[in-house]
């Protein structure tokens, strides 16, 4: 069924009729997204009895609303207390948290919300218009191309610690080594597990994230009265609605940044298994590389917040494309959506757009509606969310430790994972105190296993021939783009300097 005005109008009115369901899904998604350890995937699993009882289109609309809102919700703790709600928001604190500490939490939240909503809306519309072509992307991106895409994200390790690149490299490479813990994907041989069966399935990501960010931060801030710096307290005391308007204006002024980083997210989201974490790191790295003021990144720079937030919301619509068109879920949440739809006897593939337009097209219209609703709901709340920052640390620290530790237990229900969070908390604390970037360690832990998986697959297919890395045209184009994005800005600056001299 071709998308025409009549169908678009019908989709719009039918989606509107589900406003109450979208509202519930949105509210729930915001809450679960903001709590580390809880994710849209976990929540949809918990609510399976409800979603399975709904008709397929209602169930899909509810799941899409919850998934979309959870992506946005994950940025809230990342900005306010330096704890990403999910791995997809792991790049958000790089600039969001320094803004919050400086008393600009309300503005940072607004920038995060506006860039998430705009990025999500733009990519949902693009996905709706271009899904037949976008779905083909997954067929062209194989292990070799994915290795180069991973390297885009990993190269952030070198640039993230611009003040001491050597320490940044040590932290990032240490993270990569930690990421290699577990059984390898091809031979299932356990490596570096210290004999713990719980580590055979890699280092659990949420406990690592909770430890490196939340626990270590809690141990650092206990000396302070509040999380805010002295200057930040004075800045925060004068807050009215103006930081919200400033945040909206600042984001709209950077609309080009929102558009292109959200499209980066959309393209990466289409690739099954890639995910929001890669998208946000790649978008951040690209944003920094092409910035005229790269030195400002990591200090509370607006573009450093816009890039990961737009990108991880761009992933949301991208994830649905391979699911709906070829039946391959782009991520964990999409996989659970597939289970629910298959339970109702829905067959995926191009025919889905003919037989079930309300599910196929309706998923995207529900997503767009959710973003509009989120924009209206959450912007006024930024002022009140920001008040979390003035809670005294004597209360904040114990609450953070207790809830994030239990959050690290939730994904796998292993008490062992809480101990993992403590170990990473100690590593994170030492790293913070001695000038090693915890985000660089985390990038290694997140991207290391993915890079190794693709590397192993590529070598296995080529029977150990390393030249496979340069065996496809697309991969070679990506290699050139990687080299250009790494060295291009420096060369450009050098040429400009020479020219002026």
């Amino acid at each position: 069924m071709e998308m025409d005005a009549a169908l678009a109008f019908e989709l719009f009115t039918r989606t509107l009729s589900y406003w109450w369901l979208i509202l519930i899904g949105t509210a729930l998604g915001l809450v679960v997204g903001a709590i580390p350890g809880f994710s849209a995937a976990n929540t949809i699993i918990i609510l399976l009895p409800i979603t399975l009882a709904m008709d397929p289109s209602s169930g899909m609309i509810f799941m899409v609303a919850l998934y979309t809102a959870s992506r946005l919700g994950a940025g809230i703790p990342a900005i306010l207390v330096n704890i990403p709600g999910t791995a997809g928001a792991a790049a958000t604190p790089l600039d969001g948290y320094p803004m919050a500490v400086a008393g600009r939490g309300q503005e940072a939240l607004t920038i995060s919300f506006v860039s998430s909503v705009l990025g999500g809306l733009i990519t949902t519309i693009v996905a709706l218009l271009l899904f037949p072509w976008l779905s083909q992307l997954a067929y062209h991106l194989h292990s070799v191309e994915m290795i180069v895409i991973m390297l885009f994200g990993i190269s952030l390790i070198a640039t993230i610690s611009a003040d001491d690149t050597l320490k940044g490299l040590i932290a990032g490479l240490f993270g990569l080594m930690i990421g290699y813990i577990g059984a390898d994907v091809v031979y299932e041989a356990p490596r570096g597990t210290f004999g713990f069966l719980e580590l055979y399935d890699k280092v659990p990501l949420i406990p690592a994230l909770v430890g490196l960010f939340a626990i270590s931060e809690a141990f650092v801030v206990i000396e302070r009265e509040t999380i805010l710096s002295e200057a930040g307290r004075a800045e925060a005391a004068s807050h009215g609605w103006s930081p919200t308007f400033d945040g909206v204006r600042a984001t709209l002024k950077e609309w080009k940044e929102v558009v292109w980083t959200s499209l980066v997210g959309l393209v990466i989201g289409v690739i099954p298994g890639a995910g929001a974490a890669i998208a946000s790191f790649v978008a951040y790295q690209q944003s920094r590389m092409f910035s005229k003021t790269p030195e400002k990144y990591g200090t509370g720079h607006i573009n450093g917040l816009i890039a990961p937030e737009s990108a991880n919301n761009g992933v949301t619509s991208g994830t649905l494309i391979p699911l709906l068109i070829i039946g391959v879920p782009g991520g964990a949440t999409a996989a659970i959506m597939a289970v629910v739809l298959e339970y109702h006897g829905v067959n995926f593939g191009p025919d889905l757009f003919e037989t079930e337009p309300m599910i196929a097209y309706g998923s995207f219209t529900a997503m767009a509606f959710t973003y509009v609703l989120l924009g209206l709901m959450i912007l006024p709340l930024s002022r009140y969310f920001a008040r979390v920052m003035i809670v005294p640390t004597v209360y904040m620290v114990p609450i953070l430790i207790a809830f994030t530790l239990v959050g690290s237990f939730v994904p796998r229900a292993y008490l062992f994972d809480m101990s993992v969070a403590i170990v990473f908390g100690i590593i994170g604390y030492i790293a913070r105190r001695t000038g090693y970037h915890v985000a660089a360690i985390l990038i290694g832990i997140i991207l290391g296993p993915l890079l190794e998986n693709y590397f192993l697959r590529a070598l296995r297919i080529s029977q150990g021939d390393m030249t496979v890395l340069f065996s496809s045209t697309l991969a070679n184009v990506l290699w050139v783009a990687l080299v250009l994005s790494l060295f291009g800005p420096a060369i450009k600056r050098w040429i400009t300097k020479k020219w002026r001299a």
Binding site: F38, N42, T43, I46, L166, K167, L169, I170, A171, L173, F174, L176, M177, I178, Y180, I181, D184, V186, Y187, A189, P190, R191, G192, F194, F219, I222, E223, T393, V394, Y395, V397, P398, I399, I401, A402, F403, L405, V406, F409, V410, A413, L415, M418, S419, I422, I426, I427, I430, R433, T434, G435, Y436, G448, L451, E452, F455, L456, L459, R460, G464
Partner: protein, 167 residues
């Protein structure tokens, strides 16, 4: 920063903890992959070589800076704020105890006890009333939201089992 502190060479002993940890872990990791096929070793060997090279470069840089009088390595010069350090160690001990007993006492009681003791510790026993109120609110809210509504698999104990029978 004062001029005095600028003129003192920086003590880089704490900065060596992460590189040493990384080296020890890498050495251990490499001992666990000796039996696996080379394809499964390749990526880790490449990264461990890069890590070792970065640490070697860091060591050379530190040596050169020590010779130049900018840095030094000294056990005695590590500056420690005793009050904060005692609080941190006690908080770490409380956190480890929290993990150790949550399996037996369940989420609600353990969270109440942990938040109560941690607030008392961090406020130097000054806010016992607010510690009681905050810890009770956290435990109750946590139970209602996560266990009652979301039905999450938080560790269950006497309170959760009792309330399950009642509600």
């Amino acid at each position: 920063m004062s001029e005095d502190s600028n003129s003192q060479p920086k003590n880089v002993l704490p900065d060596l903890i992460i590189p040493v940890m990384a080296l020890v872990f890498t050495a251990y990791y490499l001992t666990t992959i000796t039996e696996v096929p080379w394809i499964a070793q390749a990526s880790a060997i490449l990264v461990s070589a890069m890590l070792s090279a970065a640490i070697f470069a860091f060591a050379i840089r530190t040596y050169l800076r020590m010779r130049g009088g900018q840095e030094r390595i000294s056990w005695s010069a590590i500056e420690i704020d005793r009050v904060s350090t005692v609080k941190r160690i006690a908080l770490l001990a409380l956190t480890i105890t929290y993990i150790a007993v949550i399996e037996y006492l369940g989420f609600t009681i353990t969270t109440f006890l942990f938040v109560f003791s941690a607030v008392l510790l961090l406020s130097s026993l000054a806010h016992w009333r607010s510690a009681l109120a905050v810890s009770f609110s956290c435990a109750t809210l946590g139970y209602v939201v996560f266990i009652y509504f979301f039905q999450t698999r938080f560790p269950r104990g006497p309170v959760e089992n009792f309330l399950k029978g009642v509600l």
